[in-house]
């Protein structure tokens, strides 16, 4: 197929994606524009395909006028809120992205060349230049190669890296690529929710001077010197919310210089008190009734214990209580349908918590004392009470970015679609022990934590995300490879040969959608 034909195919795909915006149910998602200056209520709710997500300001209503999280403090017109939208559970859904494209013709600051395009060198205002953002909700993240320590010194990596496939053009670009004057690797990742941060930054179980997964020194808070939980971002490259705010301001908002201490303090103060979770379900109704399931809704998150393990029968990851396990049937069809949906959520919880399967060849899970394989459950890895993250140092390779498990376009003469994600070949250097499950040469769409640590065993490991507000922020996984919760469940079913029944899949999706 010629380049022109490929280009037309891609253009067609994006056009279809954009056309579906108009066809999606419900009114457009509520977009919070930088500098709009309105107040963020103590509790606000936003519609999504599965019901409503709630955003709780635990400190009360917030005046956003002049607030550095909400104001366009950089040079490209964006604010933090651009990629951390209240309606999207303080993350960014691909639905919102497409709606912004449709509403602004691609002029919204969200589509800034620096990272809202597949590569800044591509023509602006052409949806093909923004295909990864428009189709999978991915932001370009350029990381230096070789990796740098926090003090800026170079790490001698355990592996060499080559670009095998570069559909965006950025990794082979003379200015932005691996062979440029400032060698960097462009990977493409989803923005994470900036909410429920007492869980993502806790100082409790698993936080240690040395990383529990590999014995390496843990990243420390530059202000206190204390070890951190290393659960921020896809690769744990920043230790604290303050460092993350400054890093994001420079790299995504294109702030000249650094944020002031006062600006950082206000951003962090906001992020420490905002909680998100689904509050209503299209099927199960109100998720936050009095005496309802104690895991659901943002108020329960605000009241929960942070940084504690929940993968046992004395403290569940997401305690639902027992009320929804079996509910009565009445003469009301509406009530019966609601009760059936609630029972499905309860069954989905039990699938998450108790349905065992063989977990095999997953780095930093099978390699940390559980054995390979280990017969356990979703809750084994997703064990942190109330969020479903790992309690600390939560990077793991489940195959979302590493071949052979990563989602790849099937190549054959009858398929016109072409891969959009880059592909790298990572070769562990002589003298370095090979990766215990993948060997000495690894193909990956995103080396993940390895781009920070320089270690072979970290290739393709990604910090697991929290499970809250999922219904508001599709697509899923760090590379947006699961468009829906069902695709997410199907990935696990395929990866670990689980053999979920159709009922189990539906229940699991309903459970995840209620969080």
């Amino acid at each position: 197929m010629s380049m022109t034909t490929r280009s037309l195919v891609l253009f067609g795909c994006i056009s279809v994606a954009l056309a579906t915006v108009a066809a999606q149910s419900g009114s457009p998602k509520q977009w919070w524009a930088p500098g709009q200056g309105t107040s963020l209520p103590a509790l606000s709710t936003y519609e999504n395909d599965r019901g409503q997500v709630g955003v709780l300001n635990a400190s009360g209503q917030l005046d956003t006028k002049g607030h550095p999280f909400f104001e366009p403090i950089g040079t490209n017109g964006r604010a933090c809120v651009t990629c951390h939208q209240p309606a999207d559970a303080m993350s960014l859904s691909v639905r919102s992205i497409r709606e912004r494209w449709a509403a602004t013709g691609g002029k919204d600051p969200l589509f800034a060349a620096v990272d809202g395009m597949n590569c800044p060198t591509l023509p602006r205002d052409d949806p093909r230049s923004h295909s990864l953002l428009l189709e999978r909700g991915l932001i370009r993240v350029a990381l230096p190669w070789p990796p740098r320590r926090p003090d800026g010194t170079r790490i001698d990596p355990e592996f060499s890296i080559e670009v095998v496939r570069d559909p965006t053009g950025c990794n082979t670009d003379p200015v932005y690529g691996l062979q440029s004057a400032n060698p960097s690797i462009s990977v493409f990742r989803r923005p994470r929710p900036v909410a429920n941060t007492k869980y993502t930054t806790h100082q409790n179980f698993g936080v240690s001077p040395f990383i529990g997964k590999n014995g390496m020194p843990a990243a420390t808070d530059p202000l206190t010197g204390k070890p951190t939980s290393m659960n921020l971002m896809s690769d744990a490259r920043v230790p604290t919310l303050a460092v993350q705010a400054d890093d994001a301001a420079k790299n995504h908002l294109q702030v000249a210089g650094s944020l002031s201490a006062a600006q950082i303090a206000r951003i962090v103060e906001f992020e420490r008190q905002v909680y998100v979770a689904q509050v209503a379900s299209t099927g199960a109704g109100n998720l936050v009734e009095p005496d309802g399931p104690p895991a659901l809704g943002p108020r329960n998150l605000a009241a929960g214990d942070a940084g504690v393990l929940g993968n046992n029968t004395t403290r569940y990851v997401f305690p639902l209580g027992g009320k929804w396990a079996t509910l009565p049937r009445t003469s009301s069809e509406t009530e019966n349908a609601r009760n059936a949906a609630r029972e499905s959520i309860a069954r989905g919880h039990d699938v998450f918590m108790f349905r065992t399967f063989w977990i095999k060849d997953s780095m930093h899970l099978n390699s940390v004392g559980l054995g390979n394989p280990t017969k356990r459950t979703c809750a084994t890895c997703h064990g942190m009470h109330m969020t479903g993250m790992d309690t600390a140092n939560g990077w793991m390779d489940i195959g979302t970015t590493n071949l052979p498990w990563a989602s790849e376009v099937p190549l054959n003469p009858w398929n016109e679609a072409k891969p959009q994600m880059p592909l790298f070949r990572v070769s562990c250097k002589p003298g370095v022990k090979e990766h215990p499950f993948l060997g000495r040469v690894i193909y990956t769409q995103d080396p993940g934590r390895a781009l920070i640590s320089g270690q072979c065993n970290d290739v393709g490991t990604i910090v697991m995300q929290q499970f809250r507000g999922l219904a508001a922020r599709a697509p899923y996984f760090s590379n947006g490879s699961a468009a829906t919760l069902r695709e997410l469940v199907d990935f696990y079913d395929r990866r670990y040969t689980i053999g979920y029944s159709e009922q189990e899949k539906q229940d699991l999706v309903n459970f995840l959608g209620a969080l």
Binding site: S208, P209, F210, I211, G212, K213, N214, G215, M216, P217, A218, T220, G225, N311, N312, T313, M353, F354, T356, W358, K360, D361, N366, S367, V368, G369, L370, G371, N372, P373, T374, K375, R376, T377, A379, T380, K433, E434, P436, F437, G439
Partner: protein, 268 residues
Amino acid sequence: MNAHRLTCVGVLLLAGWLASGGAASTRADEQRKNFVACPIVRDTASVPCWLAEYEGEMYFLTLQTDVSAPVTPPWLGHQVLVEGVVSSEPRICGGVVLKPVHLSVLPERDASCSTILPAEDRYNLTFEPPRPPGPSKGRLAFDNTPPAAPPAATTPASKEFVIAYDFDGLVGFRHAGPLSQILNFARDVNAREIEIVGHRGAVLLSNGRKMVEEPTIGKQRAEQVSMLLQGANLKEPSYKVRWMDEPAKATGVDDYLSRRVVVTVRRR
């Protein structure tokens, strides 16, 4: 005559003593099983158990439990070095119980190590409560009770820490705790000097073969521990880092102890 008899008695006694000692020694050797094999995982109605076959006998190594267990399961896809002692406990999952047992996952991949056996009613492991990780009570639960704290005493002028390793292994998931202990002690006593000695181990297998760790492993271990402690911002003490290129003498008895780094922290 009397002298001759005494001599004869003495010879007999000596022979008997040697014989009894020799027999005991042989029995002790027979109780030790050091071998390399593919691990085998057997499913059960509760948690899987881990086995390995050696010279026609199946041995029970451990079962799936918690990451903090003293013995954690090996990996399919890799051979495992087993260093264990045959215990008198009843078989578990059909395997002769090795206890104590030390398991080292060997670094090289081996695709032939892939056996998963299905659950059978006769190998049922029951325990309470039926939590997903594994047993927390009863015979099959591991005892992870920390040793009693020693009586309060004046802080010693120096303290020695031993870091144990898998065969040909470097620092891994098991070492965050021991490294933290060293770090905390060094900070508590405002350490003046930290001496790190890396050792290269060897093991005598039950079939008479000797396995020696890679030549530079002592150096790698010592330098890595130094790097990790300094990486954890323990930069004030001076560091003395050395290593043993010669492997330890392998005897077949507790050879796992030879795979170690010894860290001596000296206070100001």
